[in-house]
Every structure is written in structure tokens, then in C-alpha cells.
């Protein structure tokens, strides 16, 4: 299954609920398009919920980094929520824990913006 994404508002924070796989091809391009659309529409507080994402490859990681840069360049912030162990491991290996703010609780994440 490729990635599926839906958005919802929690106050002024846009939560992106992703599920499936963010991998080279359709999955990573769908992810890229959504982040760019939200950033260009003026959404500045983005919280990416990866709780139901089973798999991310280097292409998916690249799109997350690209999304982070895109949102930052629009004056916003992109933070991460609910990473499973494998995704946490990937962020450790790639040192991206030093780039992303990561939360395990949505309410805490929303308050952090």
C-alpha cells in the first residue's frame, strides 16, 4: 500500500495523518505534493502524524527533509508525531533527530507550536 494522507485542524495546527509506506515513487511524490500544497496555502504549523506509517525508505526520508525545508522557508514549522521504532531508528542513523522535533503525544505536540 502506498501512502495515504488526510489533514485535520487542531486549533491553528494542521495535523497530517499519514498511513502506509512513504517510499520511492508514488508514495514519496504524494507526500511531497501535500506538504508543498499546505505550505503554499499558508499553513504554518504542520504536525506530521506517522503513527500508521509502516515503512519509510531513503526517498521518503528525503521528502520529509525537503518538506521541513519548504515549510521553514514559508515561515512555518513541521514537527513529527508518533514514530514507530523503525522510523525512530532511521532518524537516529541519519542524525535527523537533530533536525526534527519529535513528539509521542499529540496534545503536547500541538501546544509546542
Amino acid at each position: 500500500m502506498s501512502v495515504k494522507m488526510t489533514t485535520r485542524q487542531v486549533g491553528d495546527v494542521t495535523v497530517i495523518d499519514a498511513s502506509g509506506r512513504i517510499t520511492l515513487g508514488e508514495g514519496s511524490s504524494a507526500f511531497r505534493d501535500m506538504i508543498r500544497d499546505l505550505a503554499s496555502q499558508g499553513h504554518k504549523k504542520l504536525l506530521l502524524n506517522l503513527g500508521d506509517v509502516s515503512y519509510i525508505d531513503s526517498s521518503g526520508i528525503g521528502e520529509m527533509v525537503s518538506g521541513f525545508t519548504t515549510v521553514t522557508n514559508h515561515g512555518g514549522m513541521l514537527k513529527l508525531l508518533n514514530l514507530n521504532k523503525r522510523v525512530k531508528d532511521l532518524l537516529q542513523i541519519t542524525k535527523l533527530y537533530t533536525v526534527f522535533e519529535v513528539f509521542e503525544d499529540e496534545a503536547t505536540a500541538v501546544r509546542s507550536f
Binding site: D57, S59, G62, L90, T94, V99
Partner: protein, 141 residues
Amino acid sequence: MSSPAPVVHLLDSTIETIDAAEALVTQAAERMGLGEDDLPGLGMAIRECVANAVVHGNRYSAKKKVHLTLNESPGELEILVGDEGEGFEIHDVPDPLAEENLLKQSGRGILLIRAFVDEFDVRRRQPNGTEVRLLKRLQPQ
């Protein structure tokens, strides 16, 4: 007990080949007894190798194949992934962990491959292309 002969697969240069290669390798590794905690990492290493072969090596060319070889021996699985591209120098790949590269979109594939296998080598493939060799050791259960 003698080891089985290497199994060679010739695969198309498509995105679908990445899934197929992952399945071939993880099924072999599982059959050999690789623990379920290690299977996803090996699968990721294979996906990254084959993605490199399809995208950067063969550039999706319908005329070029990805050469996947599985070589089983007691306690270890050797995997070769070859392409028919123009080759690359691994030393030219920037360090993705360097501060100045952390926010780059690409360049993390080899880092992830190295993280999940016991040995990783890159060599020129004859008559053309690149071949990467992965070795995964199976821990005694």
C-alpha cells in the same frame, strides 16, 4: 553439507523491481533463519541497492537489467546487485551526516545499507555498470 548454487535473477529496471527484489531476498533470509527483528533492515538495504541500480545505474532503461544474485552458505547470505549503467565512485558520495548535508534531500541510501548488513562493497561490473555486494550473517538462534 554443500551450499546451494547461487541463484541469479534478471529484473527489469522499474520501481516494481524494488518490491520484487526485497521479497526474494527476505524470503531467502527468513528461510535460512534470519530473525524477524533483522528482516526489515535487510529488506531496506536491498531496497536501497536496487533503487540505486534502477534509478541511478540503469536510469529506468527498458534495455538494461538489474542483476540480483543470492548466494547462500552456512550462516550467511551474500547478495549481489548489479546494474548496466555508467558506474559511480562511492568516494564521490558526500557524507550525509556532515552538518552541511543534513538537510539535503538525497544521499542517505548507502548510509542505510551499511547500517543493516555486515559487509558492503562496491565494484565495477564487467563489461559495464556497478555491482554492490552485501553480506548478512545469521546469528545463531
